[in-house]
């Protein structure tokens, strides 16, 4: 992989818990108690790029207001799986899905489902920050405008400010909202993209390696942000960085060759994984 994995048996827990509160009360992820309805419920999902099968029979249940990390070596299907959760794979020619993906109990692949509504509910932040070539303000306002979520200018401005504050970017940009978003630094651009996604008030936030192109300080800011955001949102994050998974997530799913190998509470997975494959990956024996 990218060589960041220390060659020790149990590295992640040593210093990674600093950001997190003790996560008492988390339930077993695979068989959750039914009191709180599931946010995401995937059953027997397979995904094909043309003839090639990229995901094989994946089932996973995700509760609201938790952070779930997808880890695994490059090409294991974790990004593809993330993108099935808001149907971003629809735009790939020849892509095909089997199985069910239920968001709040509704199968988003059922015939007649409005893809636009799905994507509004399930926001996404991409690996490479992709601000539109517009002003900072217009970037955040974009989703509000196209979905007609605000009725007047002051409401729009309020939502933009609120979103930028949620993304911890407001203080840095409040005096230059109408300057180009492309003038921001890489880390600021990524937080802008997060603000843009938050502005439409999604329930779920999908993050596809949101910090992979950022320096350590910008990465830390994004991770702090994730920790704060989980109060309001359900977050699924794909990461190449296992320490990051350990730092930010409550649950971790390990993917390998298009299959879900193990899905566990993060602290348990990083201390006592039940699968040999997971242990080998976490300890840096492959990947």
């Amino acid at each position: 992989m990218d060589g960041k994995v220390p060659q020790t048996i149990n590295p992640p827990l040593v210093k990674v818990r600093a950001l997190r509160a003790p996560d008492a009360g988390l339930r077993d992820p695979v068989l959750p108690v039914q009191a709180e309805p599931l946010k995401i419920d995937v059953e027997h999902l397979s995904f094909f790029y043309g003839e090639k099968r990229a995901l094989e029979d994946i089932s996973i249940k995700i509760q609201p207001h938790v952070v779930t990390a997808f880890i695994g070596p490059s090409g294991c299907g974790k990004s593809t799986f993330l993108r099935t959760l808001n149907r971003m794979n629809d735009i790939i020619p020849g892509a095909r899905v089997e199985g069910r993906v239920c968001i709040d109990g509704q199968d988003i692949y059922r015939a007649g489902v409005d893809v636009v509504a799905v994507r509004r509910k399930v926001g996404m932040v991409f690996q490479k920050s992709n601000p539109f070539p517009k002003s900072i303000f217009e970037n955040v306002a974009y989703g509000l405008r196209i979905n007609r979520l605000t009725s007047n200018r002051s409401e729009l401005a309020g939502r933009v400010e609120e979103s930028l504050q949620q993304a911890a970017l407001w203080e840095e940009v409040k005096d230059r909202l109408h300057e180009s978003a492309l003038a921001l630094s890489g880390g600021q651009q990524q937080r802008l993209c997060i603000a843009r996604a938050l502005a439409v008030k999604p329930d779920i936030l999908l993050m596809d390696e949101p910090a992979s192109a950022l320096d350590p300080i910008a990465t830390q800011r994004i991770e702090e942000l994730i920790y704060q955001l989980k109060v309001k949102f359900t977050i699924v994050i794909v990461t190449h960085n296992m320490q990051q998974a350990a730092r930010v997530s409550d649950f971790t799913a390990f993917f390998w060759l298009g299959r879900l190998i193990e899905y566990e509470r993060t602290d348990k997975m990083f201390t006592a994984p039940s699968e040999k494959l997971t242990e080998d990956y976490l300890t840096g024996r492959f990947g």
């Binding site: 601000p131 974009y142 180009s180 843009r196």
Partner: protein, 285 residues
């Protein structure tokens, strides 16, 4: 230790190639310099205020100007632009959005073919389609002919520039709940806009200098006219008419007309670059 012996021929060779490149650049620029020199030196003396404000005098009477032709060229170009810009840009969007489809390939091939059709043939086509049904030459026919020439240029430029827009922008818009059309027109087209503006203005400059498609569509008019259904004068046709005439005074006016035309084209090209740079700088590129 680096051997100095082998370094010598290498350096000489490099100098030779640089010199050859410089020579070719000079050769390429010489015709342009000559054209500009002749047009300016011959045209500048006849470029009086009267040239811009007066219509042609009757044969034999000295003086007069090309006011009618200058206005005519502007009207013809505007008509062509009104027709070709929407069609050209929208078909460019279509080609880039459905680039894999069979129909898109056919349209692309048709556009490239149309781009290569000699302008006189386009004139004949406009004659058959517009002039014959209306039974007389008209501004409309001339504008139509120029518009037909402009469409494939704008279509292909737009398509190529849209393909340069990173796919990440499209995904970003779609992920926020934009429909495909919305993503294209609110994010992708604006991102390519500086280039599209340049392409459109360069296409305008190109057709403003066309003569052949106008010869039997808008024809010519010795009088000032802004009517769309009457023949109209244009700088190019007027220059052509004057240049082949036996009158010394008309020759001088032809040079002046040529100078005005070259200036218009030059100003257009510069304006295009300026506009593109300005749009781009507004976005902090």
């Amino acid at each position: 230790m680096i051997r100095a012996r082998t370094a010598m021929p290498r350096k000489v060779l490099s100098a030779l190639f640089v010199a050859a490149c410089a020579l070719c650049v000079a050769l390429a620029l010489v015709p342009l310099a000559f054209v500009l020199f002749f047009v300016v030196s011959q045209g500048i003396q006849s470029l009086t205020v009267e040239f811009f404000t007066h219509n042609p005098r009757p044969v034999g009477e000295p003086g007069g100007g090309m006011a009618n032709a200058i206005v005519g060229t502007l009207i013809l170009t505007a008509l062509a632009a009104a027709m070709a810009i929407p069609i050209g840009i929208l078909s460019g969007v279509y080609l880039s959005e459905y680039r894999g489809s069979r129909f898109a390939s056919a349209v692309r091939f048709a556009a490239d073919t149309l781009n290569g059709v000699p302008s006189i043939v386009i004139g004949v086509f406009a004659y058959a389609v517009v002039v014959l049904p209306l039974r007389h030459f008209s501004t409309l026919a001339g504008g139509f002919a120029l518009g037909v020439m402009m469409i494939p240029i704008i279509t292909r430029t737009t398509e190529e520039l849209l393909l340069l827009v990173p796919n990440a922008l499209r995904e970003g818009a779609l992920a926020l709940g934009a429909t495909r059309a919305r993503a294209v027109f609110s994010v992708i087209v604006p991102a390519a806009l500086p280039g599209i503006i340049t392409g459109v203005v360069l296409a305008l400059a190109r057709i403003a200098g066309e003569t052949a498609p106008l010869l039997f569509t808008s024809f010519n008019n010795r009088f000032f006219s802004t009517s769309l259904l009457q023949p109209i004068s244009s700088i190019t046709v007027q220059v052509f008419t004057y240049a082949i005439s036996p009158y010394e005074d008309w020759h001088r006016q032809a040079w002046a007309g040529a100078l005005v035309l070259v200036t218009i084209v030059l100003v257009c090209s510069m304006a295009a670059r300026f506009a593109a740079a300005r749009v781009a700088s507004l976005r902090g590129r």
